[in-house]
């Protein structure tokens, strides 16, 4: 079914003095999807999210959210988890979830019932009456995620929801996101950990230095970088395989001392449509004895590094 997009950004920019945090970003998010918002530290993810939520005003460009030009008008239909987490320390766990739900327009009674239900479903039942200050950081974060989504919003925006969670709780959170998507809610989450995006996202947006560098599905992302085959054989790779689909053939230095001194290592980059079988075929025909044949699907991590690698490193070294 074709629905109006839940979110549409057109040429949105935000500057702080001379620093441009977000530069001319446009994208559209269809309803009912899990949308990953990826980028290195300082890429402008949080600023973009704050503009979407109308906490910050963009300097230029337009934002339409749930059919409105201003998030304020539809704020009861949005759930938001900010990047920096914090809760009122003195409040009880169920009360804080219920409080944020009532701020989103739920009745007190319904909010209270929903708080207890969520706590039970996501394994925090025993802590319902505890004070927030007595929780560990990870548990506190789970509570905050629940308080952001307790009012069953149509659009959920989670800024770095996985940071600070142990692997078990990361899985619980992934389950929560999947549950919400199944219920027809649209989930946008930002992260710089690609595995989560890889497992969850229907579509993703990659930004770096305030600019959009990629917007598409996981397959689109994989298509961005060439497929890679690594070979090891005891002789020169000659004649080299040649085809329109083969982008390059390079010899790599050996990583570790091989059993046989004659061992040599090669990297072959292929077009994304190419069938790696053809390399095997070629070697077999030319009687090149292979001691290793590696073909791996590039991970999202590789895509990420490929797209923002130099920038991110530069950033890290500064």
């Amino acid at each position: 079914m074709q629905q109006a997009p839940v979110l549409e950004l057109k040429e949105v920019s935000k500057r702080y003095g001379s620093f441009t945090a977000v530069n001319n970003i446009s994208f559209t998010i269809p309803a009912g999807s899990i949308y990953g918002f990826l980028g290195p530290n300082g890429a402008g993810k949080t600023t973009t999210i704050r503009m979407i939520l109308d906490i910050l005003k963009p300097d230029s460009g337009s934002i339409r959210i749930l059919g409105e030009s201003c998030a304020l008008n539809v704020r009861h239909r949005i759930g938001y988890l900010p990047e920096e987490k914090g809760l009122y320390k003195k409040m009880r766990v169920w009360a804080i979830i219920a409080y944020f739900a009532t701020l989103k327009g739920m009745s007190r009674k319904a909010a209270r019932a929903q708080a207890f239900e969520l706590l039970e479903r996501y394994g925090l039942k025993d802590y319902a009456e505890s004070k927030v200050e007595s929780l560990s950081k990870g548990m506190g974060q789970k509570v905050q995620v629940l308080s952001a989504v307790a009012h069953r919003p149509e659009l959920v925006i989670l800024d770095e929801p996985f940071s600070g969670l142990d692997p078990v709780n990361q899985e619980v959170l992934e389950q929560l996101i999947k549950d919400m998507a199944e219920a027809g809610q649209t989930v946008i989450f930002s992260t710089h950990i690609m595995q989560h995006a890889e497992r969850l996202c229907d579509r993703m947006l990659l930004i770096t230095k305030g600019q959009k560098v990629f917007d598409g599905t996981l397959d689109d992302a994989h298509a961005l970088i060439p497929r890679r085959v690594v070979l090891e054989c005891q002789s020169a790779l000659s004649p080299a395989p040649a085809s329109a689909d083969i982008l390059s053939v390079t010899e790599l230095p050996l990583q570790r001392p091989a059993l046989n001194e004659a061992t040599r290592r090669w990297e072959i980059l292929l077009n994304e449509q190419a069938d790696p079988q053809m390399i095997l075929q070629h070697c077999f025909e030319q009687r090149i004895a292979l001691s290793r044949f590696d073909y791996t699907q590039p991970s999202l991590h590789d895509v990420f590094v490929h797209l923002v690698g130099s920038d991110a490193r530069e950033h890290a070294l500064r």
Binding site: I55, R75, Y80, P82, E84, G86, L87, Y88, L103
Partner: protein
């Protein structure tokens, strides 16, 4: 509006749960109760003090004795007056014998006007027994018996033999261990320290000073009567002695010049009362009563109350905003409510808890007056009646709310700019300096409520709530009341509007608190 209420309710609910809130609520009644119980306790526990009187001249000893006795009688009379006030019938009996009621009224009046004369008079007419007979008809049936206060100063026997011809220096030397507290007197099997030695030397008359004559005794500091005591703070005994000896000497002088002492005494007791009248009162009601004096001073109490509870509220508001900011809760809140709703909700919630505190204070005050019928509460009851009958309470409620809105707006803006209380301190400093001013001028303005300083301060909006409250009992000119109120309301609107601007930009700020230029830029910001 619903959001504002939700936020206000949470703020209120959370504030009411804090220890600080309850400390604030309980502090005032505890102080109130503490002061009175402590006073009572102190009065009861002050031990009788023993003095030693050595009268070598043989002329003034009896006068000193009489003076100390009179001092005691004065305290009995005072205690008796409060006893009567406390235990009086609400309705005078119809078949009241004689003019008992009027006589008691007269007595109470006399004590208020001229205590010394009143004491003389009632001692002459028969002392305490006479008074009890006189008062009996006006007392309630279930009145407790009158319990006169204990004597404070008692004469002791000398612990050592003092030869008749000993010089003053010798006597002091012999008694020094007792005076210095190294040894104590044995009285009725109990050890008590010697409080004071009153030594009247043989040649004391040579130290008498007369106007116009050369002053022979002035060269020696210990000339005249010597009062030896290591306690320098309790001046009641030396004062009584000085009064009585001077009075005796003067009487002697009168006799020496052939004037009849009884005449003199009558002359001295002649008086023309001074009535203090208030020109603003209706004819026939001009008399300035105790209640009127209270009315004059009650606003000072209110200013103080306002100051304390304002301070408490704005401090809480500040730390609470900083908590939300440093915890980044603010972002979640701002995704749900507008900054203005958040600000108003906070203002309302904390304001409500401030009002709760004040209501609790007034209530505890009221309960205290009702359930603690002590001597001092007679005055408090009057004070209370003044409060209820005058328009001070409405004034107070209005100025408290106005002052709160004004200062809360400013402190909220400060809180929104800072990430820690430490950062807030430097921004708060100037506000604190401003807040001190009404407190410092409080008594001064109460004395001169429509003077230049009071009027000028009334027109400065930051001071208006305090100063106008201070002047409330003095019927300030209508121009002042209306003008300052309009100015105050306008300033509140302006402050809330500007701090709303700072608040919405400040709450999302991170890093150092801004410099003045940046704050000005925020104020000019459009959004």
């Amino acid at each position: 509006m619903k959001m504002i209420l939700l936020i206000a309710l949470r703020e209120y609910g959370e504030n009411v749960k804090t220890k600080g809130f309850w400390a604030g609520i309980l502090l005032f009644p505890l102080i109130l109760i503490g002061v009175f119980f402590f006073q009572t306790l102190l009065a009861e526990s002050t031990p009788s003090r023993y003095y030693l009187l050595v009268d070598q001249s043989g002329r003034y000893g009896s006068a000193v004795d009489a003076a100390i006795r009179q001092e005691h009688q004065r305290r009995i009379l005072q205690a008796f007056v409060s006893y009567v006030l406390e235990n009086r019938r609400d309705q005078p009996l119809t078949q009241m014998p004689g003019q008992a009621n009027e006589q008691i009224d007269q007595l109470i009046d006399d004590v208020g006007v001229d205590e010394v004369a009143a004491v003389d008079q009632w001692l002459e007419s028969g002392g305490i027994d006479f008074l009890l007979t006189l008062a009996a008809p006006v007392l309630r049936e279930n009145a407790p018996p009158f319990d006169p206060p204990r004597e404070q100063f008692l004469q002791a026997e000398s612990p050592v033999d003092i030869p008749d011809d000993a010089s003053p220096e010798e006597i002091v030397e012999r008694l020094r261990p007792w005076l210095g507290g190294e040894r104590s007197l044995l009285i009725d099997g109990e050890r008590s320290p010697l409080f004071a030695l009153i030594l009247i030397p043989r040649e004391v008359d040579s130290a008498i000073q007369r106007p116009g004559a050369t002053l022979p005794g002035q060269s020696t500091p210990s000339g005249g009567v010597q009062y030896w005591a290591s306690n320098l703070t309790d001046t009641r005994l030396p004062n009584a002695i000085e009064r009585s000896i001077n009075s005796t000497i003067r009487n002697n002088e009168f006799t020496a010049r052939g004037v009849d002492i009884q005449t003199v005494r009558n002359v001295q007791r002649t008086r023309l009362p001074l009535s203090r009248l208030d020109p603003r009162k209706e004819a026939g009601e001009e008399a300035v009563s105790v209640a009127d004096t209270f009315r004059q001073w009650a606003p000072v109490g209110f200013v103080y109350l306002m100051f304390i509870s304002l301070m408490q509220s704005v401090q809480y508001l500040l730390s609470n905003t900083i908590e939300e900011k440093s915890n980044r809760i603010i972002e979640v809140l701002l995704a749900s409510v507008t900054p203005l709703e958040l600000m108003m909700g906070k203002l309302l919630g904390i304001g409500l808890s401030g009002i709760t505190t004040i209501a609790a204070w007034l209530l505890s005050f009221f309960l205290f007056v009702v359930f603690y019928p002590g001597t001092e509460t007679e005055l408090i009851t009057q004070f209370f009646q003044v409060l209820m009958s005058s328009d001070l309470i409405p004034y107070f409620i209005f100025y408290f709310l106005a002052g709160y809105a004004l200062y809360a707006g400013i402190f909220l803006a400060i809180g929104s700019l800072c990430n820690t209380l430490k950062e807030a301190q430097s921004l708060m400093m100037p506000m604190m300096m401003i807040l001190i001013a009404p407190l410092v001028t409080m008594t001064f303005i109460a004395q001169d409520p429509n003077g230049t300083v009071a009027r000028i301060m009334s027109w400065i909006p930051l001071f208006t709530p305090f100063t106008m409250m201070n002047r409330a009992a003095a019927q300030p000119p209508l121009t002042d009341v209306i003008g300052t109120t309009v100015l105050l309301v306008l300033s509140i609107a302006l402050v809330l509007w500007l701090s709303g601007k700072i608040f919405r930009q400040g709450v999302l700020r991170t890093g150092q608190p801004p410099r003045i230029v940046e704050i000005l830029r925020m104020l000019r910001h459009r959004h």
